[in-house]
């Protein structure tokens, strides 16, 4: 009885993990600019990985190996948003403008608009660095 419950829980968790990772993948492919992509990459993906790892932890039961799963979960929850922040910050620093609803430029246009500015920005930075 407990065993079937456990198996059921594992299956549910794996399916949830797959679902959210699917959402994250769709978001990364579908969303219009780097900032919105960073949203799903950091969030839906973290949750998806969280569910899948929870399933693994449940399957392994108590023991040294499932501690590692919990540790992995902890790392992913700390590092994923930080990485997303670093990436979007780098984009911001390069002068890439966030896309807005009424904007008809594509992400490539936004990038090319920024690329020129980036060169200027780097030159100014270099000049002002102590």
């Amino acid at each position: 009885m407990i065993e079937t419950l456990r198996v059921g829980a594992i299956i549910v968790l794996v399916v949830l993990g797959l679902f959210f990772t699917f959402v994250s993948a769709t978001g990364v492919l579908r969303l219009p600019d780097v900032y919105s992509r960073a949203h799903t990459a950091s969030q839906a993906d973290t949750l998806g990985a969280g569910f899948a790892l929870a399933a693994v932890a449940l399957a392994l039961g108590f023991g040294t190996t499932s501690y590692k799963t919990v540790l992995l979960l902890f790392f992913i929850f700390i590092t994923n948003p930080t990485a997303a922040h670093a990436i979007s910050r780098a984009a911001d620093e390069q002068g890439i403008e966030p896309w807005t609803t009424d904007d008809d430029r594509t992400d490539r246009d936004l990038y090319e608009a920024s690329e020129v500015e980036t060169d200027g920005g780097v030159a100014t930075n270099g000049g002002e660095q102590p």
């Binding site: 969030q43 839906a44 997303a84 922040h85 403008e97 896309w99 500015e117 200027g120």
Partner: protein, 408 residues
């Protein structure tokens, strides 16, 4: 008269005696009546109705202790003045008791106000001055003060010039010990079984980590207060998880929707969370909560990219901010109003139809085109225009970039 007066913030540092001596000599070099005003600035924690345990913690002094410190400094100053005592007026004051001074920026503003109020154009900073406001990673006070034109700032030339920078602070045995314990436990957790080989290698590597890295890991001794913070952090995690799952479902619906009904906007929120780790926790929580992504952290103000309006509303209601305050400053601090009520929110990109959203920006399309035309003749200038136009934080954009770089 005012030209020969000095404002000296004191914090009970080791070089204070020399600073006082220098200050007195410096004002007495001038002629006529001279004034020195010593001020003690209370860190923000003291200004709240905190529980007794929290008053003991942290670097701040109680009002009585501060009075004693100021009296001592005033006695030193009179002593140094010698026979010129008749020309010297020594004043003391305590500030920060009735207001929140969260960051070096706030402190600088307050100090400059003080100089204007009392007609003292010079500020003399002790080289070891540590107001206990803002972590070493936040923009330092000296930098903030130089942004004001109304007064001049000078650093006293103390003999013991051990300038404090975050990387050269001496670590205490408690710091080394706790880091050793944490890394040793982590090593054993990874090793899995308690076998003599793992114990020996664990001790060796934990020693290396503790000796080598304790200076960058802690800024002050871990105390019982950090333990109670960890306790509240454990309460915070389930709350955060619920938030994550709830809003993830919402965002999943948006992303899988055939029309993709998103309305992304960049917003700026000035939070009432101060210090390195609390701000980091808040920024990371904001990023983890779907629909909001912290793009930039400058001291207390966060630039947040929001994907849908509902996420934006949640952000402005400040639920996460309140929870983070609860974790780091205790229950009382939850009473601080939400960012929306404080008026600390701003949408940086215009919303079509809602003209009140942002008043100071042209539409992004225009900015882009303007830049591109400029680019052809002058690259550098266009780079500058871009930043200042778009972020309305002109002036300090460059430096804040460098600042935040350290934080990541």
């Amino acid at each position: 008269m005012s030209a020969n007066s000095l404002l000296v913030p004191v914090s009970g540092s080791s070089t204070e005696r020399q600073t006082v001596k220098y200050a007195v000599r410096r004002v007495l070099d001038g002629t006529g009546e001279v004034r020195i005003r010593f001020v003690y600035v209370h860190p923000p924690d003291r200004t709240q109705e905190t529980s007794p345990e929290e008053v003991v913690a942290d670097a701040g002094l109680s009002p009585e202790q501060a009075t004693r410190l100021l009296d001592r400094v005033a006695v030193w100053a009179r002593e140094d003045a010698g026979e010129d005592i008749s020309r010297l007026t020594v004043e003391t004051a305590q500030i920060g008791l009735t207001e929140y001074l969260f960051s070096p920026e706030d402190l600088a503003t307050r100090l400059v106000e003080e100089t204007e109020e009392h007609d003292i154009p010079h500020i003399l900073l002790d080289p070891e001055y540590n107001p206990g406001i803002g972590s070493p990673l936040l923009r330092p006070l000296e930098y903030e003060l130089t942004r004001f034109r109304e007064c001049t700032v000078e650093e006293a030339p103390a003999q013991l010039r051990t300038r404090r920078s975050p990387l050269v602070i001496r670590s205490t045995p408690v710091q080394v010990g706790s880091l050793f314990l944490v890394s040793f436990l982590f090593y054993q957790l990874l090793a899995g079984q308690l076998y003599w080989f793992d114990l020996v290698t664990g001790v060796i590597s934990a020693t290396i980590v503790a000796v080598g890295l304790s200076r960058v890991t802690f800024h002050r001794n871990p105390s019982l207060r950090s333990l109670s913070q960890i306790g509240r952090l454990i309460l915070y995690i389930p709350y955060l998880l619920v938030q994550i799952v709830k809003s993830n479902i919402l965002i999943a619906a948006v992303i899988l929707h055939p029309r993709l009904p998103i309305e992304p906007r960049l917003t700026r929120v000035r939070t009432t969370v101060w210090g390195g780790i609390p701000v980091m926790t808040l920024a990371n929580s904001i990023t983890l909560t779907p629909g909001t992504l912290s793009v930039r952290v400058d001291g207390r103000s966060l630039t947040v990219h929001t994907l849908v309006p509902s996420a934006r509303e949640d952000l402005f209601d400040g639920g996460l901010e309140r929870a983070v305050r609860y974790v780091f400053y205790g229950r009382e601090s939850m009473k601080i109003a939400s960012p929306r009520e404080r008026g600390d929110t701003k949408i940086l990109q215009p919303i079509p139809g809602k003209s009140d959203g942002s008043d100071e920006n042209e539409s992004p399309g225009e900015t882009g085109e303007a830049d591109e035309t400029e680019v052809s003749d002058d690259r550098e200038a266009s780079g500058d225009t871009e930043t200042s136009d778009d972020r309305e934080a002109s002036g300090d954009t460059e430096t804040s970039d460098e600042q935040g770089g350290e934080q990541t």
